[in-house]
Amino acid sequence: MATSKVTEHPSARAANPARTEEMALVERCRRGDLAAFEELYKAHAGKLFSVACRMLGNPADAEDLLQEIFLSAHRKLEGFRGDSALGTWLYRLATNHCLDYLRSRAARTSQVTDALDDERGNFEPERAGLAERSITKMDLERALAQLPDGCRAAFVLHDVEGLEHREVAEALGIAEGTSKSQVHKARLRLRSLLSGGS
């Protein structure tokens, strides 16, 4: 079941020697040390790019956004106090950038992020269920890219990234109940897509 990746007990900070190393790396980055920032990039780029790719449903957009995320991180490192792990801080920054991008895209295309139809019959597969079918990760990635932005973002954060509904709601700026509803709709739609439906 889902486990939290955001919440962290404050005592973990003092007890974690890795945090001291992180702060030393951050300090080098603040002084303009490019090699230090490259180290930071290499440690976190894969994770953040994966989230961006899946939330945006488009690798080319995610590539551009990854640049903006790290350039923004470099600017904001001055204000990083180590209250959360560096990875958590970057993760929040990345999801905020992804959300801003999705909102901007929705505004450009007049798309409603909550557009998935509530009519359950639309997502009922006509053939056998998933349990009897061979589904690859690539199949799931393709189906994921076909979801509407709103429920894809909620699904990625909850089912792929393992955030709790409360954390998804906080990250996306929606109610907890809406997070549940979006994730559930996404699962129904994915089930339909992966079962050969539309």
Binding site: E38, A45, S50, L140
Partner: protein, 258 residues
């Protein structure tokens, strides 16, 4: 169809279902094959979602970020072990910025010329029948030449700065192993010559057929290859400066294959 139980099944997957509803659901599942199938599907989907692999960004993303940070003056050159090498790092940073600028300029040009949806310029336009494999798009010859000359100028500036950086590096190191070794330098030079020849041939073809899409494509492909080679050269110099022989060897290996 049992919408209520399907909601409960989703909550079961989420781990948020209460004890009473869970017990009720379990009783229902004993009798309902359809809901059991639905639960199996949801579990399979949830399990597969949690095993998705990380997606690695292309290598070029870091170079773009580093280039932007340098351009904006937000990073400084690393400490210099030998004072006389300082100009080299400055030149390297300038060259990196220029190469980035050239890459963007050429990228824009390629997009403009290749995009079928690009708006036709209002100035002198010529429309020709499409040759096999070519597209018949209205082309503003004067605009093409002006943009091309501009890109070429940036391009030549970048090359000049790179050559200057290389000379300074060579002078500062006194021919030691800190600079590019002779074999690598010779290989880079050879690759540059091959690409320059391709550029010259494409340019000659373009001169005889100014509206040939294939000649334009060949020229831009050659330009892109040269920019890529310059970017690799910068990356190689950086790795050698950092003493990362493994990283340098990887880049050289890539150059040998290209």
């Amino acid at each position: 169809m049992h919408p209520t139980y399907r909601e409960s099944i989703q909550e079961l997957i989420d781990g948020t279902i209460g004890a009473i509803r869970r017990a009720e659901l379990e009783r229902h599942l004993e009798d309902c094959a359809e809901c059991r199938s639905f639960l199996a599907d949801m579990e399979k989907l949830h399990d597969l979602s949690q095993t998705l692999d990380p997606i690695q960004p292309p290598d070029g993303v870091w170079l773009q970020i580093a280039g932007r940070l340098r351009q904006e003056g937000r990073v400084q050159a690393p400490p210099t072990p030998v004072p006389s090498r300082a100009p080299h790092y400055a030149m390297l940073a300038i060259a990196a910025s220029l190469v980035l600028a050239v890459g963007i300029a050429i990228g824009l040009l390629v997009t403009q010329y290749r995009s079928p949806s690009a708006p036709a310029p209002a100035a002198t336009t010529v429309s020709t029948p499409a040759a096999p494999g070519n597209t018949a798009e209205p082309v503003d010859v004067a605009s093409v030449e002006a943009e091309f000359r501009l890109a070429e100028q940036h391009y030549q500036n970048a090359i000049a700065k790179l050559e200057q950086a290389a000379r300074l590096d060579q002078a500062a190191s006194g021919g030691s192993d800190n600079a590019l070794d002779r074999d690598t330098a010779a290989m880079l030079q050879k690759n540059l010559q091959v690409i320059d020849q391709a550029i010259a041939e494409s340019r000659a073809a373009l001169k005889s057929e100014p509206l040939s899409a294939s000649a334009r494509d060949s020229l831009f492909d050659a330009l892109k290859r040269k920019v890529a080679l310059l970017q690799d050269t910068i990356a190689l110099m950086n790795e050698m400066r950092k003493g990362n022989s493994a990283g340098a060897a990887q880049i050289v290996d890539g150059l040998n294959k290209s």
